[in-house]
Each structure stands twice: as structure tokens, then as C-alpha cells.
């Protein structure tokens, strides 16, 4: 494994972007940093600025106001940068499938790399999703 890929997958800094979620997925994301799950073991930390981010966690059913904002945030992120859709709303619009305020799914606006379904997904499910992403990136099966 070359050093670049190893460095990129061993130190994933995560930026958390809520596009009109009910705050449930956001609480579960913060659970990942608690002593019980402790994702800092794998070098994953939550950063405050998107300029430092390697992965953008999108939660919530993308509403009309959030679409230009999330495009802008994605353009501001330094590449390479992956996008992880967390929760039923951002994966497939969830219960807001027929809602008038959120007509676009997240993957029609942004190139989503990982889908983690659940309402909210358990922290174990999020860790499993990240592990699958790392395996996909490094080519190990």
C-alpha cells in the first residue's frame, strides 16, 4: 500500500453538515466520539471548518434552501473529499419522499460515496460503513 493512500485512510477528518435533519442522526454522530465507540482510535476526528475536512457527513432531507449551501460547502472542501449520506432522509428521502419542500435526494446534487441507512443509524452501522469505504478505497477485500 502506498503511503499517500495509507495517510488518507488512516486520518479521516470529518465535517458534519445538516441539511434540515431532525437532529437525531446528529446526536448519533456525536455518540461516535464518546468513550464507548471512540473513533479517534482510527484517526477520525470531527473538525469545525470544511477546509480541513476529508469527509462530509450529510444528514437530513435536503430541503430547497439547503441545496445552494451544500453545493457551496462541497466546492469549498479541499479534494480528495468523500461524501457520506447518513440516515434514511439523506439516503432515500425517508418519510419526506412526497414532501413539497424536499424534492431532490442528496445524490442528485452531490456525488455520494457511502450510504448509511437507518432512522437514526446505530453508531456500529456508521463504523461499519466507514470500514467498507476504507476497504473500497484501498482495494482490500
Amino acid at each position: 500500500m502506498n503511503i499517500k493512500l495509507k495517510a488518507l485512510t488512516k486520518s479521516i477528518w470529518v465535517y458534519h453538515m445538516s441539511t434540515g435533519s431532525c437532529n437525531n442522526c446528529d446526536i448519533e454522530i456525536l455518540d461516535l466520539l464518546t468513550p464507548r465507540f471512540d473513533v479517534e482510535r482510527f484517526g477520525i476526528t470531527l473538525v469545525g471548518s470544511v477546509r480541513h475536512a476529508d469527509a462530509i457527513l450529510v444528514t437530513g432531507s435536503l430541503n430547497l434552501k439547503a441545496i445552494p449551501r451544500i453545493k457551496q460547502v462541497y466546492e469549498q472542501a479541499p479534494k480528495p473529499c468523500v461524501i457520506i449520506a447518513i440516515g434514511a432522509c439523506s439516503c432515500g428521502q425517508g418519510i419526506f419522499r412526497n414532501g413539497p419542500n424536499c424534492p431532490n435526494p442528496v445524490d442528485s446534487v452531490l456525488p455520494v460515496d457511502v450510504y448509511i441507512p437507518g432512522c437514526p443509524p446505530k453508531p456500529e452501522a456508521m463504523i461499519a460503513g466507514i470500514v467498507k469505504l476504507i476497504k473500497e478505497l484501498t482495494g482490500k477485500k
Binding site: K6, A7, S11, R41, V47, G48, S49, H52
Partner: protein, 304 residues
């Protein structure tokens, strides 16, 4: 010439100090994790962060002043490299190195990383960065006063020596300054100033992650952010060594426990305190700390 370049870039300078600083920052993160009942990152984590940041894209905001935005990380890094080279060389061979008044030069060079952060953040043109800058400027003005006053204590106690190597040799014959009353007071003041210079938790309001989203570093990405992080980790080596040189008989490879003790003190202060507001920090440094430093100077004049 080649010897000086070697000293600056490889052995006691950039590379060596960076490796020790990365190890120290891993110890910091691991101990912090253990205090919070977590497992903590593996030993290569700080190195991986630096490598990862240096291969990422550098984004420059449209409103930024480009020259200063790129230049200021280099200013901080070169200053801290010069300080650490100087302190290492003096401690390895106290007999020949140094010039008269080098304490004052080191004092100025230790301020330069903070100045570099201020310049770079205000060049980035971000409102949150400017908020961080105003806090950083107030913090620099707050901690420099007790830092300079307590720096006078070893000069008075060594009867007016302004050369670091002479201060070390004075201490080896007459005992360390930290064993005396004025020395220990000035040393404690210096430890708190060091915490603020490093930007660690009670005094990290300039880059408050939960409040103004990394503040001064908010627009920096890629290689430039890596240089800022590296500056901070190297400062984590240079500042404790400067304190040991001034107060604690200097430093060689056998007395690494002195550095470890100072590192543990930094980490414990960091893990047992919440972040203070900027007005509380200024009141703390201009009130209690300056008072303690003045008392230490008076005691040192009185010969205690």
C-alpha cells in the same frame, strides 16, 4: 556553512525537533484519551495527519491577500526552527556556543509563531478568523507581560548574565534556580505562560473549535495547515526546553525526565480545565500572574 545548514535542517533543528514534537503530541493525545476513558490513537497518528494534510489540495479564498496567506506559515515555522536549533546546540555543548544577549533574541523569536498566526488569519479574509485574531492579539498582550517579568529572575540571580550558555554554567556550579523561592515562583508563572503560548485548553479561545470553528485556522487547508500544525508541535519541544535551560540546569540526553515532567504538567492542566473567556484570561495574566512575577523579581533582588 554546510555545518550550519545541517544543524538547521537535520540534526538539532527542523527534522529532529519535528520528530520529538510529533512523539510529544502523540503522548498528549494518548494521555488525553486515557483520562477520558478512551483508547486513543495509534503512535503514528500525528505523522499520518501531517502527511495527509500535505498531500491535500490547498484552497485559497477569493477575498484573501495571497502573498501574506502563503508567507505567514513559513514565518512561524522558520522562527520556531531557529529557536529549537539554538536551544539544542547550547544545551549539547554549553562551552562554546551563543552570543551575549541571545535570551532577548529567543524571546522575540518565540513571539513570532503567534504573530504568524495573526498575520495569516487576518490575511484570509474570514469574519470568524478575524474574531480569532482579535482574541489571539489580546492573549499575546496578556501573557507576554508576566513572561518577560519572570524572565528577569534568572538574569538577576546570575548577576546580570544575558548569555544562555553562561546561565547554564552558573547553574551547574551554584545549583538550579528552581530550587530557590523566587525561582520556583517565576517557573510556575512561566509554565502558565507556556500553556497560553502553545494555545492549549484553558487558553485556546483563539481557535475554539466548538465556538468559532477553528478560528484563526479556519481558511487554511492542505500543506499550509500542516505547516501550522508542525509549528505548534515543534513549539511543544522548544518552549519546555527553554524553561529547563533557564531554570533547571539545562538539558542533555540523560535528563529527558525533566522534559517529560513538564510535558505531563502541560497535559494535566489541559485535561482538568475548561476553556476560559478572553477577559478572564487577560485578568488572570495581568492580575495574579503579573503580581507573582513581580514578587519573584523582588525576592530575587533580595537574594532569596
Amino acid at each position: 556553512m554546510i555545518k550550519y545548514l545541517f544543524n538547521y535542517i537535520i540534526f538539532p533543528g527542523f527534522l529532529f525537533t519535528a520528530i520529538i514534537g510529533l512523539a510529544a503530541s502523540w503522548i498528549d493525545r494518548k494521555v488525553t484519551a486515557r483520562v477520558q476513558w478512551r483508547v486513543g490513537p495509534p503512535w503514528y497518528q500525528p505523522l499520518m495527519d501531517i502527511v495527509k494534510l500535505s498531500i491535500k489540495e490547498i484552497t485559497v479564498p477569493r477575498s484573501a491577500s495571497k502573498g501574506l496567506f502563503f508567507l505567514s506559515p513559513m514565518i512561524g515555522l522558520s522562527a520556531v526552527t531557529l529557536v529549537s536549533t539554538f536551544i539544542w546546540l547550547i544545551n549539547i555543548d554549553p562551552s562554546s556556543k551563543g552570543f551575549s544577549g541571545d535570551i532577548i533574541v529567543i524571546l522575540y523569536l518565540l513571539t513570532l509563531p503567534a504573530i504568524a498566526v495573526i498575520l495569516g488569519a487576518s490575511a484570509s479574509g474570514n469574519p470568524l478568523a478575524s474574531l480569532g485574531v482579535s482574541r489571539e492579539i489580546k492573549l499575546v498582550m496578556a501573557y507576554e507581560l508576566p513572561f518577560i517579568i519572570s524572565l528577569i529572575v534568572p538574569i538577576i540571580k546570575s548577576h546580570g548574565l544575558l548569555r544562555l550558555s553562561e546561565i547554564i554554567s552558573y547553574q551547574t556550579t551554584n545549583g538550579p534556580f528552581v530550587a530557590s523561592l523566587s525561582g520556583i515562583i517565576a517557573f510556575i508563572v512561566m509554565i502558565f505562560c507556556m500553556q497560553a503560548k502553545l494555545g492549549f485548553v484553558p487558553f485556546d479561545m483563539a481557535e475554539a473549535e466548538t465556538e468559532i470553528m477553528a478560528g484563526t485556522y479556519i481558511e487554511y487547508s492542505g500543506m499550509l495547515l500542516a505547516i501550522f500544525k508542525l509549528t505548534k508541535t515543534m513549539l511543544m519541544v522548544a518552549l519546555p526546553l527553554f524553561l529547563i535551560t533557564l531554570f533547571w540546569q539545562g538539558f542533555n540526553f540523560l535528563s529527558i525526565w525533566k522534559y517529560v515532567i513538564l510535558l505531563v504538567i502541560i497535559i494535566l492542566i489541559r485535561n482538568t480545565n475548561p476553556r476560559v473567556r478572553i477577559d478572564q484570561a487577560v485578568r488572570f495574566f495581568w492580575g495574579k500572574m503579573t503580581l507573582m512575577a513581580v514578587v519573584a523579581v523582588i525576592l530575587a533582588i533580595g537574594g532569596k
